[in-house]
Amino acid sequence: MGNLDRRDIVKRILGGRDDILVVTGLGGAGYDCTAARGDHDLNFCMHGAMGGAPIVALGMALAQPSRRVITVLGDGDMLMGIGSLATIMTKKPDNLAVVVLDNGHYVETGNQLTASGYGVDLAGMAQAAGFPVAFDLADPADVDDKVRRIQESPGPVFACVKITGDQPPTVPKTRDASYMKLRFRKALLGVLPT
């Protein structure tokens, strides 16, 4: 558990950045990204397939090497797909950033500790997998610099943001994956539904 405000950090990363392709994990991450830049055409929010968001983002990064792709997910979600750190590093896409919002708890299911909450070092795992940029973001004084590295550094970038355990209110957003897929492809590729 940290001291940073999840909504504030995600807004700094995504606010006004309409060009970034975003994949969110389950739970709060989708609402944080929606609060940051609206129910956006280029947000794809997972509401199942826990652990899969970083790999969806890897697929996007490989298909669109000139676009920044950022996945935002909770620590429990990252742990479920922890093997994806190894998979990402088989391809090393320099346009991909993984942002973990780490409160050390499964907040939605009753605040049980995650492995991160027990002390497992997620950024250290990313570093060991070979991520050229991997860091914790815990100190408010580092926010400007580290947000810029998430947005711009040649990656893959891994950022573990130490957030408070607060659950901000939800914001209106769709959970319909068909709708998200159609609007995503229309906005990015100009492809209409078949």
């Binding site: 392709l21 994949v23 794809f44 997972m46 509401h47 199942g48 397939a49 826990m50 652990g51 899969g52 968001a53 790999i55 969806v56 983002a57 890897l58 697929g59 996007m60 990064a61 490989l62 298909a63 669109q64 676009r67 792709v69 797909g81 093997g83 994806s84 190894a86 998979t87 088989t90 391809k91 319909d176 994956a177 068909s178 998200m180 897929k181 995503f184 492809r185 990015l188 590729l189 492809v191 078949t194």
Partner: protein
């Protein structure tokens, strides 16, 4: 007369005809020739997975951003995928997975047999169109039919290759 082509060569040509640019897999001996053919093609990106549960997610992201792929795995990996297939089911995202079945024809490892018995039904129960292939000459045409269904209809398709086609692993006493 040209030498007879293998099912792997025919399937590689099917991939090229259908604009497949990404091939992702957890390796399986039965499809190793196909993996090698794709790996030798500089226009194809091969992504080896840590766990089969990643395969449909990778191809979902690639397709959302404009590229088509195929997911190859061994039958024993299919069980790892069930929860993440929810992404394809919920969003009707296209997927073709080619599964080299274990636990069916002459299997020598009992740990594999329950999946050999239930694979077809599991895929069907979660909403996939399932093709089973027993004869080598049917492999490439069936994979092509599956690809067209997946990418023209946003369907979820599994092509299950029998060990009669991919070969049965030998166990020695």
């Amino acid at each position: 007369m040209a030498a007879e082509r293998s099912w792997a060569e025919e399937t590689y040509e099917v991939f090229k005809r259908n604009e497949i640019e990404i091939v992702t897999y957890v390796p399986e001996g039965g499809v190793k020739d196909l993996i090698a053919l794709c790996d030798a093609d500089p226009d194809m990106t091969l992504v080896p997975l840590t766990n089969e549960s990643e395969g449909n997610c990778l191809l979902a992201g690639a397709w959302l951003a404009g590229k088509r792929g195929v997911f190859l795995m061994q039958g024993s990996g299919a069980g790892n995928c069930i929860n993440n297939f929810g992404l394809n089911i919920a969003g009707r995202l296209p997927l073709l997975t080619v599964v080299a079945l274990r636990g069916s024809w002459g299997e020598g490892n009992y740990w594999m047999i329950y999946q050999g018995r239930t694979m077809h039904r599991i895929f069907e129960d979660i909403g996939f169109k399932v093709y089973e292939v027993d004869k080598v000459e049917d492999a490439a045409p069936t994979i092509e039919a599956g690809l067209k269904m997946a990418y023209n209809a946003d369907a979820q398709v599994a092509v299950i290759l029998s060990q009669r086609l991919t070969g049965t692993k030998e166990f020695k006493r």
